[in-house]
Amino acid sequence: LPGKCLSQPQSKNVMYICPFTGAVSGTLTVTDYKLYFKSLEREPPFVLDINLGAISRLDTIGMQIGDNDMGMEIVCKDMRSPRFAFKREEHPKMEIFETLTKHAFPLSNDLLLFAFLYKEKFPVDGWKVYDPVAEWGGGLPNESWTISRINSSYEVCDTYPSLLVVPTSIKDDELKRVAAFRAKHRIPVLSWIHPESQATIVRCGQPLVGPSDRRCKEDERFLQTILDANAQSHKLSIFDARQGSVADTNKAKDGGYESESFYPNVELNFLEIPNIHVMRESLRKVKEAVYPSIDEAHWLSAIDSTHWLEYIRLLLAGAVRIADKLESGKTSVVVHCSDGWDRTAQLSSLAMLMLDGYYRTLRGFQVLLEKEWLSFGHRFAARVGHGDENHANSERSPLFVQFVDCVWQMLRQFPSAFEFNELFLITILDHLYSCLFGTFLYNSEQERVSKVCLPSKTVSLWSYINSQAEDFTNPFYVNYENHVLYPVASLRHLEFWVSYYVRWNPRMRPQMPVHQNLKELLILRTELQRKVEELQRDVSSLRSITSTPDHGPSPSHTSTPLYTTV
């Protein structure tokens, strides 16, 4: 890779304790991007590589084999924990361990993330995928909504993008007062507007109601304006992603939720989704259940006890409710959780995937992530912990993984409704951790654009993806256009994502893809289409020269009564 350097002479005679095929010894190499282990003991040679960015924790462990051995466990964010054993006399200082620590956690060691060193050139520039003004297109501004530059220097809200879509009739000073009333100044802003009914998805942080039931006139008017902008409904639905009880706790601590008595015409629903800590714990249990081995006999109950799919179901069910409210109820929806950057992003983007076929295309999905996740300040750096050795930080949580899992579930239920394929989703998750691309680094647009100027210093993941879009395209794709897709949020239809979570287990490795013969068929079709067109062209040119009544179009249709008049 351009920009990668070997930072250490290789360590020989290292033993990799493979949980699937037994111990194997070989050479361990660490670069500033990857760890390679290669063994020539097996045929074909055994190779293991790990993106350093995927490493969550490095441990040395005492091995049972003897005092002369040192062990190293690499706990990864991508559901594996490879273990290596070294002979103490051959590696007295465990230099490799230190190098590995340094490069796996560059931020903790005053080094740059690898994305800043990576210099690969791609034919397309992924940073240009998302242009907020162009995305809103000709639809905006309209009579109700306008693109506001009030946050252009991130003064109103430092975790929001510079461009916001807000109701036309709300003045800037009102917006500022609303900002003061919403958690982290995250005011209600437009995420999506229904092309026909004008019903909208609006996202925000929780209102700072507090135990004394504070009110904010501007905030109340703001929501009323959102309701008024949609003539089709006399209600506004607020979906609070949190559990009702948790929302109450938050209220006691100065947070809270909209009171139906202060906000007329508003119906408040709690989606009962647990917080980031519960999700982190759930995925940890998933790892326990799948790595290194699976207990066949109790697999199903093991999956039940992780609750992972249950939470996936909750999220999908919540998003279905939101989408249904917009589509069948023609009602505008406001979504928030506590801060409006975790569950809110999950729900709004899932609902948009259901409602709008554009986001189900390869490019549309990139836009969706850029918009709902990156620009609206999902705290990727905090949730993933890029380059940071503090693995126990409670800010970390796999919320984005959970979202991608939901997308995968939709892909499973609607195999031909998405332009992208499973590899695309897995690639996104791999580079969520890899630190190879700048895309998922930092917590907000402000940090990315005005502090670090990421686009000029790093490569976008979309540059890589869009340069070889073919690999990430679903051959079964049929354009459903704006047909609303409601996934069935029942555990009967939810599946455990084996090809992501259990992909390190060689027994679970997928066989040759089914797509193969479809791809062949597609090629064949294109070929034949081309031939037909060619012939058609020949025929039409022939016709224009030798057009006579005899060779004209079929007589039954255009039979001119030439002889009947005689």
């Binding site: 948790v246 519960v278 199903l300 949580s397 555990l491 679970m508 040759m512 058609q536």
Partner: protein
Amino acid sequence: MLSTLGGGGGKPAKPSFVSYVTPEEINQTEKECSRKEKHPDLLPGEVIFCSAGPVLKSIKDDLFQRVVYGTLLCTNFRVSFISDEAPSDEEAAQLFKNKLYGENDIPLTCVDHIYGGFDDKKKLIISGFVKNKYPSKIIVCCKDLRLFHFSLAYAKEEDAKKIFQGIVYHCLEPKSLKCVFAFSYGEKTLLNKENQTKPKTVMFDTSEDWAQEIKRTKGNCKLISNNADFSISAKLPQFFIVPTHVTQEDLTKFDGKGIPIWCWSHHSGCALFKTASLPLMQEDASSQLYKSYMEGMLNAVAQTHLYSVKTEELSDSLPTVQDIQQSYSKFKQFFLLDNTNDFWMTDVKWFSSLEGSCWLDIIRQCLAKAVEVVECLEKENTNVLIMEEEGSDLCCVISSLVQLMFDPYYRTLGGFQSLIQKEWVMGGHRFLDRCNHLHLKDKEQSQAPVFLLFLESVWQLQQQYPPAFQFSETYLTVLSDSIDVSVFSTFLFNSPHHMASIAKAMLEPGQRSPVNWPTVWDWSVQFDSRAQDFFINPLYMERSRQDKAPRKMPRPKHQRHQSLPSSAFKFSPSAKKGFLKDETDSLKKMLRVKRLSRWMNSPDSAQASTREFFVAWQRRPLDYHGLLLPCLEGPTLRLWSQRYLRWIPEAQIFGGGSITILKKLADLLAEVQDLRGNLDRQACRADFNHQGVVARAKSSIQLSSAFPFTMPRSRSFKPAIPIGPLHSLITDSLADQEDEENLGIV
């Protein structure tokens, strides 16, 4: 609940169907009833026993509950509901129409349970004689997992009583085999010989079929054809194949038990045999006799083939027939759901409930056992003799699975049907007893869905390797339904002898022509040719011509051999006679010493070795026309959602499901065919005639995951939104932990 009929809204009299209809409307319907004589298009030989009307059927359409008026009938074939509403002329609903029974018909043998609704209570009905009150509702659970709710509240009390008694009597009471509809149907229909040939199914009812089969697999055994009159044993088919060294005397000794029946020969020359085991464990005088007989049989197997023999007593390591029945009874309950509430309630601990039923685990065990047998044949080149008490239940499951994994021929539609003929029908699987269609009390213990277990296992294989199978998931589902349609001879008898003796008895009272029972393989009895297109898997990769060519040449002993170590017992042409003798002597010695002890316990660490075998196989490039091994890790065994979820509206994915992939493929195929046709036409004539391919079929947006079994009726549907406990309320300290904003550094 909504009603399409309750235009003006009704009186809220009772919390049942009553409230939706005004009295005038009832009168109207009654008048209508009397005006038109309603009866279904009866099948040949079908007779109506009783009928009642008006009866209300409640249906859940796209999550809305509504009721339909009609007449309920009971014939000698089915329970039928004839709706007063004009039949929906949904073109697609007709596309996959079963010609024998429609969506409102329940073949009598398909009825699993009947519940009576008494006001709000639901009671399981076991007899037609009710002490006090007759139920106002009948709830019928079908073996194909459909669920019907009929309300008798509006029918005349007498009619209601009669229809209730009639249905219960004909569906649940013990009856004789002659009462099964196939007998009346068979008398009145003529066999359509021509249709039977498509696709070609080998029936294995002639010695030629067997001879052909042994030739096909290059087996080295002998065909026994003097059981044509069942003089050797009534338990064996008329024709069968045994090792050459089995003598005529051996055959007649223990009424067919203990005889190694040949199933299939591996290209290396070793073969799979099955047998009904002799009671070797018994400590009596005959046990010694059995033992020496068995020894003789094993030697016969070994001597012919010069291979060692591995015996596998299936009842030692696999669940019993009773276990299978028990597990399935639990399992199917998850899909017979009365209402939306039940659906979401059972959704909460779904995976644990599935595990609790053990059904998927039983499937896994069967597949694992089959892989074990495959390993013996493929890797160790050992003959395998599988046995169990009757030799016709798990023996059938395992032997057919092994053959399906090995032999691409059995993965074609015709081949698969031939396999079922060979192993199950001729193999004497007791279909009648296992299904207990006659509801005989003494046969209740032997009821078990063994054949369904096999189909389930096939489905798992097919899910893992779709391009390897010519038949589709829909085919398997339809086949599993057909078990309970009492028209086909295939699933009607306990053995070939049973069938022959019944047929003979039928002939005696002066009848001229033999009874014509169609076999299930004559699909034209159930489906027209358009519907039969759904049986073909568009993902199937036919062997390409280049691949086919080398097959015709005499195959070298087998290429794949070299990749796996073969056993020392393998015949090698260079071996000298003396060497050969030594080998067989030591083999005999080994057999004598180890045999009996090896029978009694299954080999240790079979699982570990099987895993290794799987991994070794997996490393080689996948050949859809070669050996296929299923992956058996926990997550790979899945729920056969088409079969089990197709009737549940909450579980339908509108615009989704695997059908959309098949649809896309089918469209593409049609398009390519059209383009080819166009090219041909253009080549000869300068006349272009383009046909829109896409226009021909519906877009997959309008289909659902339950296609072709049910169709979404309305364009605008409501999504199924979970109700009730959304998740099992875990008492987790994390859930109460403060939300993130207070913990962060920001």
